[in-house]
């Protein structure tokens, strides 16, 4: 029997996993990035070094961890460090190649909000907050962001800037003295966006079966479309099966 076709969420995870190259040092954020990074390590990037901000360096979890501090991460890591050491010697010092982050809101320059929806003093929704993201976004050599495509998530104007992407034309990233390049890809459940030369995100790929208009509708700003729009290959049976096996190892909320 043929397995069920990939869901949009699975398409996003597989596509994000393909962005990681073998041997890169990857800082794994909580949520969707965790699934993507662990998938990559099981497929084409077995030597990818997974770093968790909880202090685990080169963790090789057997199960998909629910939190970034599960016992499996510590038990399989090459090295465990304290949180202050993690953020100073490892993240802050620029030893991360790829920062793999989630986001609640993102704008056209890849800036991220994970703090509040609505005004800060009287938020409509109080989100978890910064965690490690601001300094990962600043210091990792590259950043990959994953989030579901919706006009409420991809917005014209962020309610709060938690982590800097490419900055804004008035206050560009380059003026902030960051060591890292910022977001190089934003992977959603509809396609891939990458920054153009001025830092603004443009749609560079749309998944098979997704209409361009659907992507425009789901974006809260007038989305730039690349001249050469790609169609990523659908997940292979191996990719899909590996992801589903991985997902089966975490408790369902």
């Amino acid at each position: 029997m043929k397995p069920p076709p990939p869901t949009p969420e699975e398409m996003m995870t597989v596509t994000a996993a393909r962005e990681l190259r073998d041997g890169q040092v990857c800082l794994v954020g909580v949520g969707p990035p965790n699934a993507a990074a662990n998938l990559a390590r099981r497929l084409h990037a077995p030597h990818c070094v997974l770093v968790y901000e909880s202090g685990a360096i080169d963790a090789k979890p057997l199960r998909l961890p629910l939190s970034i501090g599960d016992d499996d991460l510590a038990a399989t890591a090459d090295e465990l460090v304290s949180v202050p050491e993690m953020f100073s010697y490892w993240i802050g010092a620029g030893r991360i190649d790829v920062g793999f982050l989630g986001a609640a809101q993102i704008d056209r320059f890849g800036n991220i909000n994970t703090t509040v929806i609505g005004p800060y003093d009287h938020p409509k929704v109080r989100l978890p907050g910064a965690g490690g993201a601001p300094e990962i976004a600043a210091a990792a050599r590259e950043v990959i962001v994953m989030l579901r495509h919706s006009p409420r998530a991809l917005v014209e104007r962020l309610d709060f800037v938690t982590s800097v992407g490419q900055g804004t034309p008035e206050a560009p990233r380059s003026a902030l003295g960051f060591t890292g390049a910022g977001p190089v890809a934003v992977i959603t459940d509809l396609g891939i966006m990458r920054p153009g030369s001025d830092g603004e995100l443009e749609l560079t790929a749309v998944y098979e079966g997704i209409a361009l208009d659907d992507v425009r509708q789901a974006t809260g700003w007038e989305l730039r479309i690349a001249e050469q729009l790609e169609t990523p290959a659908p997940p292979t049976e191996l990719e899909l099966q590996t992801l589903r096996d991985l997902r089966a190892t975490v408790p369902v909320a």
């Binding site: 965790n34 501090g69 016992d71 202050p84 953020f87 703090t115 910064a130 490690g132």
Partner: protein, 290 residues
């Protein structure tokens, strides 16, 4: 005669006595443990002893602060990530910020890097920690504990975060010896910094051992840096203690439903935390049938 009074070593005592003696209304307290070794039993004892108007300091508030906030014990929260990792929101934290229930909660928020630096400075008894951070974000202007300074050598703009020096640090560790020296291992978070930054430190431990055996990745805190050691086996559940337990991920998922509704939360706390008056057991909270 020497002006330096001899240091006091940790006293071995029941957790309820340690909280009664060393945690006061209005204190700034830090219950640390980054996912691993979260001192749940100590937090529950503070709730049972009705300590109020607390400033709660913790990088990742987690379920323990969700419970303390929901029970109205906190006036202020100093934190850097207020979510239920891998699950979603901390609903009691959200309700306090969004609706002021059961009382308004002042928030002072950092990034992880900033807060780790603030604890490190506190441990070193320096006035501020230094990092490259917060630049270009809205966090700096919302947090008066963050400022930008110029490097005296290169002129580079760097970020200063005011040191954190809690009145009390509370942590959980695997081992203590009879003299009150403490050892923890596995993911060790920011516990060493929190203890050394605080005026007083209370440590719950899995057990007292004849001697601390060397282990990889162990952190040892000498007895004279600690105020009280309390034996509370399982005192970290539903978090975990490497070598003793595993993280109760099912409970972290179940907490989402328990905490979403005010009445259900209050009822759960009554049955599972308040009902344990007079005990210092740090049992896994009773699980709802599912």
């Amino acid at each position: 005669m020497s002006l330096a009074e001899p240091r006091t070593r940790a006293s071995l005592m029941p957790l309820s006595d340690a909280i009664a003696a060393h945690v006061h209304d209005g204190d700034a307290i830090a219950l640390e443990g980054f996912t691993h070794l979260i001192p749940f039993a100590a937090g529950h004892e503070i709730i049972r002893q009705n300590r109020c108007d607390l400033t709660l300091i913790r990088m990742t508030p987690d379920i323990i602060y969700d419970q303390m906030i929901g029970m109205g014990r906190a006036a202020r929260l100093v934190f850097s990530y207020g979510g239920n990792p891998g699950v979603g929101s901390l609903h009691r934290f959200r309700d306090a910020v969004e609706n002021g229930w059961p009382r308004p909660l002042e928030v002072v928020e950092h990034s992880h890097a900033g807060m780790a630096s603030a604890y490190s400075a506190g441990a070193a008894r320096l006035p501020f920690g230094l990092l490259r951070g917060y630049a270009g974000t809205d966090l700096a202007e919302r947090n008066p504990q963050v400022a930008f300074v110029e490097c005296p050598f290169t002129g580079e703009s760097l970020t200063a975060v005011r040191a954190l020096n809690p009145d009390v640090a509370l942590i959980h560790a695997q081992h203590a010896d009879q003299r009150g020296n403490v050892m923890l291992w596995g993911l060790c978070g920011v516990q060493k910094e929190a203890v050394l930054a605080a005026d007083r430190a209370i440590v719950t431990v899995e057990e007292i051992v004849p001697a601390l055996e060397p282990r990889p990745h162990a952190v040892v805190l000498p007895s004279w840096t600690i105020t009280a050691v309390c034996v509370v086996p399982g005192g970290t559940a539903p978090s975990y203690a490497a070598g003793y337990s595993v993280r109760d991920n099912d409970f972290y998922s179940e907490w989402d439903a328990i905490s979403r509704d005010r009445d259900r939360f209050v009822e759960w706390m009554g049955a599972n935390v308040l009902a344990e008056v007079g005990t210092t057991a740090g049992k896994t909270p009773a699980r709802t049938a599912s």
